[in-house]
């Protein structure tokens, strides 16, 4: 239907919905006076139960580790969907000629940008590893550090060197890394089932809160999740870049 008809249909529906939304939200407790018991209980016992000082990561990988399993596999299957949708169709051929791909620079990828890209890659890898390793102590963890690690090869793309990015993050490596990360996280849950009787119960020694290797399975889960997340996003981005830069229409 035309845009005007859509908007005429949306106007009354949107007004009614806005009314319901506002009326419903006035039933919430006032901002700042949260009544929830679960959060308060976790704030009280979280550090002593899991020996991790970052409660958000402790919730993610210890108390509510099962939800994180579901979330990880959401990411895994959606990237599977992206690969499937952007696969090479009949009538397309990849154009892997080095010169043509190198020419797809950002307009104005100057020498300064290339130099910056070169320095960004090791810095971002170091930052990503730091964030992943310290997830149980300070804000961070597997998901956050995994994204930073995934963005490190992206700095090469921004500097105009897409084929070099594929050297740093080759297709086989990122796909295997993603699958290994997802499998490792599920195996941690199974380890809880085998060694401690409950799926995802912490079965690794808890350590001392505040030290690097504390929190039991939290650092291990962080590493597994960071592998999975960085692999998944790199696979997804590679599909889009291949579509934009390499795949050409045309028969044999």
């Amino acid at each position: 239907m035309s845009r005007r008809a859509r908007l005429c249909l949306f106007a009354p529906a949107g007004a009614v919905f806005a009314l319901v939304l506002i009326v419903g939200m006035t039933g919430l407790p006032p901002f700042g006076r949260y009544h929830g018991v679960y959060g308060r209980a976790l704030n009280g016992v979280g550090v002593t139960e899991s020996h991790a000082t970052d409660l958000v990561t402790a919730l993610n990988f210890d108390f509510r580790a099962f939800d994180t399993l579901g979330e990880e596999f959401i990411l895994f299957s959606s990237i599977l969907g992206v690969v499937l949708i952007l696969r090479q169709l009949r009538g397309e051929r990849p154009e892997p000629r080095e010169e043509e791909a190198e020419e797809h620079h950002f307009a104005g990828a100057s020498e300064a940008l290339r130099a910056l890209g070169l320095t960004l890659v090791p810095s971002m890898i170091a930052l990503g590893v730091y964030i992943v390793a310290h997830g149980q102590l300070t804000p961070g963890g597997g998901f956050q550090g995994g994204i930073v690690l995934a963005a490190a090869p992206l700095a090469l793309f921004i500097a105009g060197r897409y084929m070099r990015m594929k050297v740093l993050a080759p297709q086989m490596l990122i796909e295997v890394g993603e699958a290994l990360g997802a499998a490792a996280y599920a195996l941690i849950g199974l380890g809880g089932l085998i060694f401690a009787g409950v799926f995802f119960k912490n079965f690794v020694g808890l350590g001392i809160a505040g030290q690097l290797l504390s929190g039991g399975q939290i650092p291990i889960a962080s590493v597994a999740v960071s592998l999975e997340v960085s692999g998944a996003f790199l696979v997804g981005w590679t599909q889009f870049f291949d579509q934009a830069l390499l795949i050409r229409r045309g028969g044999r």
């Binding site: 939200m25 000082t53 599909q239």
Partner: protein, 114 residues
């Protein structure tokens, strides 16, 4: 003041919804969907806030400090990952739609006729 964060969430939701309805470009539709999802983060974090509370990171503050709700933050974290995956899938569909129909205008995306 006590209602402002929830009002912001409602406003973002309605704004994003209007953007989805009125958009004439697929990528704009996808970004407006991200705006709608962001409104739910604002709502969740607004619900979980405790006035005078610190972040639930007890690395350098004593364990008995009043802290905000950590469960809301975990939910928002999961939410953000889901938003990224949904956007990735929709953008992949938009790429293929552009290849098939030559344009990203939703009005041009007729059913396959041949």
């Amino acid at each position: 003041m006590s209602f402002l964060p929830f009002a912001v969430a409602a406003w973002l939701f309605l704004l994003g919804l209007y953007g989805i309805v009125a958009s004439q470009h697929l990528v704009r539709t996808i970004i407006c969907l991200a705006v709608v999802q962001s409104s739910t983060y604002v709502l969740l974090l607004g619900v979980g806030y405790v006035s005078g509370g610190q972040a639930p990171i007890f690395a350098d503050i004593p364990q008995t400090t009043k802290a905000v709700d950590p469960v809301a933050q975990v939910l928002v974290l999961v939410d953000i990952v889901v938003e990224a995956t949904v956007s990735a899938l929709l953008l992949a569909l938009a790429v293929q739609a552009h290849k098939r129909f030559g344009s990203l205008d939703p009005r041009e995306l007729r059913a396959l006729r041949d």
